[in-house]
């Protein structure tokens, strides 16, 4: 059965994933909108940066974040100057790392959805007196609803499933940075296979159920990992 320590890691995992997903939608939506509409020469560069976590080993991303957010890193010095200390091995650091790591899973479905909408509904809205911001909320968001659902689900589940980045940036601190994937690793290391089974099983069922909903009920196309 699940121990109370296991329950704590589950709870922490969902907390990290929820906050990260919220932040990813907040920052990813304008970014995806810009990427879908811009003719800037920077588009390719930004696209590549956003997609980087898809191909990079999580430990590489985690390593760089650790260095940058550490006391000697640029981000670390900035956060120290702000008086909030350094981010590695804290809950906030974990969230920052998760957001960066799972961002392509939010940005790419949104970008695809925005591109599909095209210019026409936007022009129709403009001729019907809707300002660009009004149009975004009253036309673009409803039309991109499947994209938002896909982005939310993929962003959330991918954050739940991360391991390498967490270990590098968050470490293994109970109640602060110890998430489910790390706890499973701890159990296996300690030869506690039955505990590992419980947690692994929960993640498996959860992830499969979510994807099943995504691909059958919502009839979403699998996201292309380019």
């Amino acid at each position: 059965m699940l121990t109370s320590a296991d329950l704590d890691t589950l709870l922490l995992t969902f907390k990290v994933a929820s906050i990260s997903t919220g932040l990813m939608l907040l920052f990813g939506t304008p970014l995806a909108w810009w990427l879908a509409r811009t003719r800037s020469a920077w588009k390719g560069f930004i696209n590549a940066v956003v997609a980087l976590p898809l191909v990079l080993p999580p430990t590489v991303l985690g390593f760089y974040l650790l260095v940058l957010m550490g006391p000697a890193g640029v981000i670390g010095q900035f956060t120290s100057w702000l008086g909030i200390g350094t981010l590695p091995f804290t809950f906030a650091g974990l969230v920052v790392a998760s957001v960066l790591y799972s961002m392509p899973f939010v940005v790419q479905p949104l970008q695809a959805a925005f591109t599909t909408i095209g210019e026409q509904p936007l022009e129709a809205a403009a001729t019907l007196r809707a300002s660009p911001l009004d149009t975004f909320f009253s036309v673009v968001m409803p039309l991109a609803k499947p994209g938002f659902l896909t982005a939310t689900i993929l962003g959330f589940t991918h954050t739940v499933g991360e391991f390498g980045v967490v270990l590098m940036v968050g470490g293994n601190i109970p109640d602060r940075t110890r998430v489910v994937s790390v706890q499973i690793y701890n159990h296996v290391e300690a030869m506690e296979y039955s505990d590992a089974h419980w947690l692994a099983g929960i993640l498996l069922v959860f992830s499969f159920a979510v994807l099943l909903v995504l691909y059958t009920v919502l009839k979403t196309q699998p996201v292309a990992h380019n």
């Binding site: 403009a126 007196r129 409803p142």
Partner: protein
């Protein structure tokens, strides 16, 4: 009756340039006519503000929408216009009623909204309000799109080939509604098309576009009969006359209609005395005689003055421009006939009209 629309635009896309300087009537339907690539849609989009011409001046009903010299460019959503796209472009996430309300919700409460119920009846869509847009036929979609644009009681209605994506049957379904709009509305309508039939049926005024320029612009009959416009030499060249039904000759299955310079007999029309109609007279159906033809089967013989002559550059055709009681008329005759009759500008002749079509 509102003030004329002033539209001056210069836009350079490298391969395509738009350069127009137009004064368009403040009422009635003005058709922007031309082949694809002539710039007619670009001109309409510049008027709507969907595209921004580098150099432009646009004044509608005493409001300046663009004046590049003073850095004025009103964004589309702040312009009092209605726009009907080639594809109806309805919002698929809203019902018909939701689409109609979209603009209404966004205009100031105190402003003068159109009588929505009247528009719905005019366009025959009052039974569709609860439908989803995907359940509508192409013709119904386009009628909803027209109603959606009109509901805002705009100062100008812009229509970009609203019938082009519809098949013949759907076109016939919508044209009568558009003709009716024409009588019911007192706002100017700018209507883009490449169809001569829609020009004949709807236009009060005509702007002929080619290569980003306005070749000719003015009242319909006058512009259609201009000899310096390629349209006059087209096999389908025709003029359009406004007429009024005055008498039915049931024994002969004929209807008499009057126009400014006389009367014509047409195949019987099912319309009450006094009904205004438009008739189209193809240039190829008009022949010319120097004296009143006494023995002819053709009923419609009218006195006319020749106002212009042109050749069709190498073909055997002469294009003759005439005035019949103040209305312009085109005739296509052979060049040989023109020489044998020694036709000259200013000559008084008789025209025989073999056939007309009612629009």
């Amino acid at each position: 009756m509102t003030k004329p629309i002033t539209a001056r635009f210069q836009l350079d896309y490298g391969a395509f340039q738009l350069a127009v300087d137009l004064s368009l009537p403040g009422s009635g339907i003005t058709v922007l006519f031309g082949h694809s690539g002539s710039g007619k849609t670009t001109l309409l989009r510049c008027i709507a503000g969907l595209q921004q011409a580098q150099q432009g001046y646009l004044e509608i009903n005493s409001t300046i929408w663009q004046d590049s010299a003073r850095d004025v460019f009103l964004p589309t959503h702040k312009r009092s216009l209605g726009y009907v796209f080639q594809e109806a472009n309805l919002f698929p996430h809203l019902t018909v009623a939701g689409n109609l309300q979209f603009g209404l919700k966004r205009i100031a409460k105190q402003s003068n909204t159109a009588d929505l119920q009247h528009i719905l009846e005019l366009l025959g869509i009052d039974h569709l309000l609860k439908r989803k847009t995907e359940q509508l036929s192409g013709g119904e979609k386009q009628r909803v799109a027209i109603a959606r644009a009109l509901a805002l009681n705009p100062e100008v209605l812009l229509m970009d080939e609203p019938l082009a994506s519809l098949d013949f049957k759907r076109k016939q379904e919508i044209l009568p509604f558009l003709s009716r709009l024409h009588q019911d509305l007192n706002i100017p309508v700018l209507y883009v098309t490449h169809s001569q039939q829609e020009v004949a049926q709807l236009a009060d005024s005509l702007v002929i576009m080619e290569n980003g320029r306005a070749l000719a612009s003015g009242p319909l009959s006058e512009t259609l009969s201009r000899l310096d416009v390629p349209l006059a030499q087209d096999r389908e060249a025709a003029t359009v006359w406004p007429v009024t039904v005055i008498e039915h000759e049931n024994d002969y299955h004929l209807t008499r209609v009057s126009f400014a310079g006389g009367a014509l007999s047409l195949p019987i029309i099912d319309a009450a005395i006094g009904t205004p109609l438009r008739i189209q007279i193809y240039a190829r159906d008009v022949s010319i005689a120097l004296e009143v033809p006494t023995a002819t089967s053709i009923l419609n013989v009218l006195p006319a003055i020749i106002t212009g002559l042109a050749d069709d550059h190498g073909g055997g055709l002469s294009v003759v421009q005439l005035q019949v009681g103040g209305l312009a008329l085109l005739a296509h005759i052979t060049r040989k006939s023109a020489l044998l009759l020694n036709l000259q500008v200013g000559m008084a002749v008789y025209v025989q009209i073999k056939g007309t079509s009612i629009l």
